[in-house]
């Protein structure tokens, strides 16, 4: 009986968390569309700051990770494929690994590590300090002013960072292919572009946008669950990170399954 009670309460907790996340996304999108003109100058400032912090300031770390990943993947390919007579597959495998899977995932992980933690802890601290109440008293809706710009800003930033990650990783691969194996840039790029169809682009865009929305929603809703004690802030931050990581891997698996297994591609 105790086991069933525990499992039941865990299940209820998961459903409540999922409901909170999806309602945060729905509220943010409806706030963006239906209340676009409400306080637009102030909310646009918050959105710009979020994109600057989550997107622009993440460029150095994203560049390093993407560059190293490109070199690692190409090193492995060049060490395995020639022996199997499969050099033709270099472009295909690079696109499969970087564009379909690792690019969106690693960009999202960087966003969680840098910005997800910041969003959850900032909102938690603001809630404890009654700053949300102060906003309400000024007639400012905290969802419209604080949550929506963070969720939308995180989605925009994750999308842009994913695209940037993929470009840098492919160029990083060329550093090894070009300088190590004397493959010309035009041959390398034509191999990559030949392997990249519309589906790869659509999947990458879909994953990055969904990852960004979900990370933004989980981190904002975790931050806003903080009650009145400062010790709840690190707990909410940890919850936001773990929840975001779990969510992006589950979503990644679902999208990959739907697009590449069900469609047989």
């Amino acid at each position: 009986m105790d086991i069933f009670t525990s499992l039941g309460s865990i299940a209820i907790g998961r459903v409540q968390t999922l409901t909170a996340v999806w309602s945060t996304i729905a509220l943010s999108l409806s706030s963006l569309v239906f209340r676009f003109y409400v306080g637009r100058k102030a909310t646009f400032q918050v959105l710009l700051k979020q994109v600057y912090f989550t997107g622009f300031q993440a460029i150095p770390i994203i560049s390093w990770i993407a560059l190293i990943l490109g070199i690692i993947v190409l090193t492995q390919l060049l060490s395995i494929l020639p022996g199997l007579g499969g050099e033709r597959l270099i472009g295909d495998i690079l696109v499969w690994v970087v564009v379909r899977e690792v690019g969106p995932l690693l960009a999202a992980v960087v966003v969680i590590a840098r910005s997800g933690t910041a969003i959850a802890s900032e909102l938690g601290t603001m809630r404890i300090a009654k700053q949300l109440t102060a906003l309400e008293i000024m007639g400012i809706d905290p969802v419209h002013y604080l949550v929506m710009p963070r969720v939308i800003g995180t989605a925009i930033s994750t999308f842009v960072l994913t695209f940037y990650f993929e470009v840098v990783a492919i160029l990083g691969g060329y550093l090894l292919a070009g300088f190590g194996k004397n493959i010309t840039f035009s041959i390398y790029m034509s191999s990559i572009l030949g392997s990249m169809g519309l589906l790869e682009v659509v999947v990458s865009v879909l994953k990055s946008l969904l990852f960004g929305l979900v990370i933004g929603a989980i981190c904002t809703s975790s931050g806003l669950t903080v009650g009145s004690s400062i010790t709840e802030v690190p707990q909410a931050t940890t919850k936001a990170v773990i929840g975001s990581l779990a969510a992006i891997f589950v979503i990644d698996a679902l999208i990959t399954t739907v697009f590449f297994i069900r469609l047989g591609l």
């Binding site: 100058k41 603001m126 700053q131 102060a134 000024m138 400012i140």
Partner: protein, 225 residues
């Protein structure tokens, strides 16, 4: 003189369900300077919440500008709140905005003024409140008396019809308290026929600064004229 705030047997409770204010009945009109004396900080906070439309009464009703706050949706409440300037006892400022941005926020959010004009207006209000520090500093390290000046500037940003102030003298030196109180009294007096000022104080001595034309007090959890 129009009735701007009306409480009818309004009660409110604390988070743990204890009744903090019970059956408060009073109406406040434009042109009035009201002081409410209360030694009980929770009761004063709750009563001002009812008056400013922040707290919904658990029983009875609270009317702000003739509208029952418990029947209003978020947008309607937000619209009413732009006509109320509220000063917290603990002077809460938005921590990730600079001092001038805190004051400019309601202006930029609610008005059609450009960002630059909003900032210029915020600067004027800060000068008026006697703020002499760095306007592009974050508010976190500011001492209480400086934060109170910023909060006064922010509360007056939208030229509200009702100003509700929670214990402004608390934690301030006499001169500082007098300066800010005079500022609020002058603000109300400038368009006395339209504006209402309600302040809570810890003790009757602080009420002298306000020169009130009406005084109430909270005894236990009851509002007494």
């Amino acid at each position: 003189m129009a009735v701007l705030v009306e409480l009818k047997k309004a009660s409110c409770t604390s988070e743990d369900g204890i009744t903090v204010v019970e059956d408060a009945t009073a109406s406040f009109s434009s042109g009035q300077r009201v002081v409410i004396t209360s030694a009980n900080g929770n009761a004063a906070n709750c009563l001002l919440g009812l008056i400013a439309g922040i707290v919904t009464p658990v029983s009875g009703s609270a009317h702000l500008f003739g509208k029952d706050v418990s029947t209003l949706d978020l947008d309607m409440l937000a619209e009413l709140r732009t006509r109320v300037g509220f000063l917290f006892h603990d002077s809460v400022l938005v921590s990730n905005l600079k001092v001038i941005e805190n004051v400019a926020l309601p202006i930029i959010y609610h008005s059609e003024l450009s960002y630059e004009d909003g900032m210029a207006r915020a600067q004027k209000l800060l000068d008026l409140a006697g703020y002499r520090g760095e306007v592009w500093a974050l508010p976190g390290p500011l001492p209480l008396h400086v934060r109170k000046k910023v909060c006064v500037a922010r509360a007056l940003a939208l030229a509200p019809q009702v100003v509700v102030c929670e214990n402004i003298a608390s934690g301030l030196a006499h001169d500082e308290a007098m300066h800010l109180t005079e500022l609020l009294v002058e603000y109300q007096a400038r368009r006395a026929a339209d504006r209402l000022l309600i302040m809570t104080v810890d003790n009757a001595a602080d009420a002298v600064l306000v020169k009130p034309d009406r005084q109430l007090r909270i005894e236990g959890n009851r509002l007494v004229e």
